[in-house]
């Protein structure tokens, strides 16, 4: 049977993550970003920016139901906002770069934290775990995040750059959407991706309050309700569009 093969060492424990180099004073931003708690805070802040975009994007696109003229006018207005102090499409490009920055910070932080977590538990449990609190959404954040990121790339190719395979004309937003969503495999891709986004928002929309430290016994119940409500509104709004087009209700 088991024998004592070696005496326990006086100190087994060793830090698993490298320490910052001593002596050199690092710039505040580098120092701040070095912490996992700060990375989660940044993920919450960028998450809020992205949620703002997702919500506005959905509300804007619902003009699909008000007809071709309404949607195309709205698309044209997006290019004009900020005029005359900013040039045409000026504010649009500022917003695009802000969103791109938010996406990069959100994804890079997530990737770095995932690596940190893998190092913190290199040996998994050998017997099955019995999770008591973790939800499907919280356990699949990485996968739903990857699905949404890949979808966003296709979505840009499809309806912004016009290289998604459907007939596409710049400025003819309504017709471009109809052309794209009429292909039922593509409609399914849009629907599945938005369901993944909903699952991501169900956890993220709650988790961000914890990461930001917004915890108050008076309002804590509202945090989960907010996440459920937000995820539901976004999913229903976004899924309805490909569904209505592919079923021929909108054409």
């Amino acid at each position: 049977m088991t024998k004592v093969s070696e005496a326990p060492k006086a100190r087994l424990e060793r830090p698993v993550h490298p320490a910052p180099k001593e002596g050199r004073r690092r710039p505040f931003i580098v120092e701040f970003y070095g912490s996992a708690v700060a990375k989660k805070w940044l993920m919450a802040v960028t998450g809020i920016m992205l949620m703002g975009f997702v919500f506005a994007h959905m509300v804007g696109n619902l003009k699909l139901y008000f007809g071709e003229k309404s949607l195309n006018q709205y698309a044209e207005w997006l290019k004009e906002i900020g005029e005359p102090i900013l040039p045409r499409t000026g504010l649009l490009w500022i917003l695009r770069f802000a969103l791109l920055g938010a996406v990069v910070i959100h994804i890079v932080s997530a990737a770095q934290l995932t690596r940190m977590n893998r190092r913190a538990r290199p040996d998994r449990y050998k017997a099955p775990r019995d999770y008591a609190a973790a939800t499907f959404a919280s356990r699949t954040m990485r996968w739903t995040g990857v699905i949404v990121a890949l979808f966003v790339i296709y979505h840009l190719m499809d309806l912004t750059w016009g290289v998604g395979g459907a007939e596409w004309t710049s400025g003819e937003v309504y017709q471009n959407i109809i052309n794209s969503f009429e292909r039922w495999p593509i409609a399914i891709v849009y629907i599945v991706a938005n369901l993944a986004l909903g699952v991501h928002l169900y956890h993220g929309g709650w988790s961000m309050f914890q990461s930001l430290g917004w915890n108050n016994g008076k309002f804590n119940d509202w945090r989960r309700m907010f996440a459920i409500g937000f995820a539901t509104i976004v999913v229903v709004g976004n899924v309805s569009m490909p569904l209505m087009v592919v079923t021929g209700v909108v054409n």
């Binding site: 093969s5 424990e13 996992a36 708690v37 989660k40 940190m116 538990r121 017997a127 919280s138």
Partner: protein, 254 residues
């Protein structure tokens, strides 16, 4: 009653371990889970076999020594219960029970079910104290503390440092432990002078040993003292504030 135990056996820190199965009969349902291991070990010694090494001390749920992953949950299936206070009546007769040590890079296995939790000491050393003048004890209630504050600080101070939060966390994070150790001081007036230093140093020490929080909430369910993840949010808030705080104004109120 009779149970079938599948226990992780590992002779030393760098030895390879494996599960061994033991049938234990004539188990009283009034036994604690640790007493089950006492019985098993008595019988193993009787047969000339090596007993199972496991951590235990007070056996009344306040020392934080016991550390068993029972059927995939730290301290077993009961809420708010350490392994020592888990009784065999909570299991069915003939139950199959799998027992594993905590698993985390910073909780290396010493032997069988014993892990080295010194990393927690490193975190507490880096700020889990207040600097107080020595001398005669001050009169009671010289510093007034609102009831809600005292209650909350006591909730955090219940932490016994068992490591169930790390064991339960899918990321191997120690945020619940560290938050409890920071916030029971940061909530109280006595903790204010070192508040920003404490949260910065303890969080940064924690992050050298453990993973990061993704708000699953497994830790608070596993905690034998039922410490809430509310404290993690308060720790995050204090940490971010501390990074932007102008320290020389730290004594100003408001």
């Amino acid at each position: 009653m009779k149970v079938t135990l599948t226990v992780w056996r590992q002779p030393g820190p760098s030895a390879t371990g494996r599960f061994e199965t033991y049938e234990v009969d004539e188990v009283s349902e009034d036994m604690s889970f640790l007493e089950l291991f006492d019985v098993l070990n008595d019988r193993l010694i009787g047969k000339g076999e090596e007993p199972v090494a496991f951590d235990h001390d007070c056996r009344e749920g306040i020392c934080g020594s016991c550390s068993m992953m029972i059927n995939g949950r730290p301290h077993g299936p009961e809420l708010g219960t350490a392994t020592c206070q888990l009784h065999m009546r909570k299991f069915q007769d003939g139950a199959k029970i799998t027992v594993e040590p905590w698993r985390a890079a910073s909780f290396p296995i010493v032997r069988d079910l014993v892990v080295d939790r010194s990393a927690f000491d490193r975190i507490v050393e880096s700020g889990g104290y207040i600097t107080a003048p020595t001398g005669s004890a001050p009169d009671g209630n010289l510093i007034l503390i609102p009831k809600a504050v005292a209650d909350s600080a006591m909730d955090a101070a219940q932490c016994i440092g068992c490591g169930a939060c790390v064991a339960a966390c899918p990321n191997g994070a120690a945020n619940l432990f560290t938050a409890a150790k920071i916030m029971h001081l940061n909530l109280l007036p006595q903790g204010q002078p070192e508040r920003w230093e404490r949260v910065t140093n303890m969080v940064q020490t924690m992050e050298r040993y453990f993973g990061s929080c993704t708000n699953h909430g497994e830790c608070q369910t596993a905690c034998p003292k039922e410490i809430s993840i509310d404290f993690i949010a308060l720790m995050n808030r204090d940490y971010i504030k501390a990074q932007f705080k102008q320290r020389r104004l730290a004594s100003q109120r408001g």
